[in-house]
Amino acid sequence: MGKSTPSGQAGAETLPRRRRRAGRNEARAGVLFALPWMIGLAIFTAIPLVLTFYIAQARFQITGAPKWVGLQNYSAIWADPAVWTSAQNTLMFAMISVPIKLVLALCLALLLNRVTMLSGFYRTVFYLPFLMPAVAGSIVFILLLNPVAGPVNMMLQAMGLSPPDWLLDPKAALWTLILLSLWPLGVETLVFLGGLQNIPKDISEAADLDSPRGWHKLVWITIPLITPMILFNLVTGIIYSFQVFTQALVIGGTTGKPAEATLMYMVVLYRAAFRYFNMGHAAAMATVLFVVVLLLTLLIFRTARSWVYYEGESR
């Protein structure tokens, strides 16, 4: 007894043979409990992902087996003007709507980050649009922005402004779609608010003592401390905007009315798959989307190291 260390030479590199273990129940249960999900992940994500890459290189007949055509589908989408137009629109949409949405949500969160009688009410109001089904929301916007009798234009005209033809003018339509996407920013706002409320009070108070200027604290203390939330909102926002579909379909139909101004990548993809039944074309588009989103996400995460502050790091 006492300090016997017979295993000293077993060392790190030669782990002892694992024997019958009591804990194996837990490990077995762990696998069993995760099994349905692992099966689901395989059936509905992993295998389809691979098949998508496959279909993207096939000429897919509706009946019969797919025919291998190599990169033909890719050259076809490269040559398809609708793909280019929609990619341009989607990129514009994402690049404009995501930053604006984040800034607006941050402003709202900063405004909300104080305790008043009505803060519950405000929070509810900002969150509600998120619950509105996208179809219903888009339809209401069509009515709100009606050029002749819509209340928005009437109010703008009353204020002496000359409002655009929101849904008819190709130059304005994409902005209308962006406007529509800004409306449900409750989730982003509440995420930011959660971040703000997690800032320890002492840090906040220390910052107040250090500098009397509010913006100073915002730039040097508040924003750095909620960078994880900014990252989260940025990544989810971009992934979501690249896949915007419902609003675009309700507003612009499958042709992206007017003049393809609201034609989104997903709509073109939908059209290729379910109107022209050109699965190869659609799969190639999906693959391109996958690569672009993947690269963007990686890029964001890569740069995130330099601008995202995690509390855990300081410990």
């Binding site: 837990e26 490990a27 077995r28 249960a29 762990g30 069993l32 409990f33 995760a34 349905p36 999900w37 689901g40 992940l41 059936i43 509905f44 994500t45 992993a46 295998i47 389809p48 992902l49 098949l51 998508t52 279909i55 405004l111 008043t116 009505l118 519950g120 405000y122 929070r123 109001v125 900002f126 969150y127 509600l128 649009p129 619950l131 509105m132 089904p133 179809v135 219903a136 929301g137 339809i139 209401v140 009515l143 709100l144 002749v148 009798a149 209340p151 928005v152 409306w183 989730v187 989260f232 690249f242 419902t246 309700v250 139909g253 379910f274 699965m279 799969a283 999906a286 693959t287 996958f290």
Partner: protein, 283 residues
Amino acid sequence: MKKTSRIAPARVAQTLVYHAVMLAISAVFLLPFYWMAISAFKNNAEIFANPVLWFPDPIRLENLTALLTRDDFPFLRQFANSVFYALSVACAVCFSCSLAAYSFGCLRWRGRNLVFGLTVCALLLPGIVTFLPVYLGWTKLGLNGTYWPLIAPFFFGDAFFIFMLRQFFLGVPRELMDAARLDGASEFRIWWQIVLPQVRTPLIIVGLFAIVYTWNEFFGPLIYLQDRDEFPLSLGLFTFQAARAREWSISMTGALLTALPMVVLFLVTQRLFRQGLASSTLK
């Protein structure tokens, strides 16, 4: 009285400005809701009236009866479909995701981190990337046109909800499970009798999120369903609006009644929603 007199006037002014700004923003956010709500009680002429009618006069309840009796917008049928769809998904998600989240959050096994990492990747994967083969699969099975493709996958779990639930499962003390193991409970029983009761609230939260998600889901039903009587409300509303472009009062009544259940659900369960939101972002 004395109390108020102590507050500095500058402070009062500041508060007033704050609330004025916030109420103005709130008004902007609420305008679509308000417009939808009042349009549901106007006829077309009143909806397009110039100047704008800010309050419906008369209040036309006949839109409601018209909506409920139309055969090109079987509202009640579609409402029932939506309820069925949402509840099925919510139940499936609560069951399947609590299994996986328990495994990821509470049990230790080799490969766990790998599988969970893949789950997070799946979360970031654009849905369309995997959609086409899945669609072709369901079609081959002849289940296109039914709710199977829309509900069945959730019985295997869902990356987002697993991620969300796992946050809660991580908070369940390990000792509780150890105690149950010592008490002779099987691993399944531990999950069912010991751990699940601890995450009852999170499960309700996940169920609520699943209901909202499903209620608003559009792409899946658009692809898989063709029969108007089988549509959920979101799709039913879309097809009605696209077809009956002129009947705005009915469209708006439909939109209002489609949005209303979610709004009410949210108002009743706000606290849970916010709790769920907080946990879905903790990365």
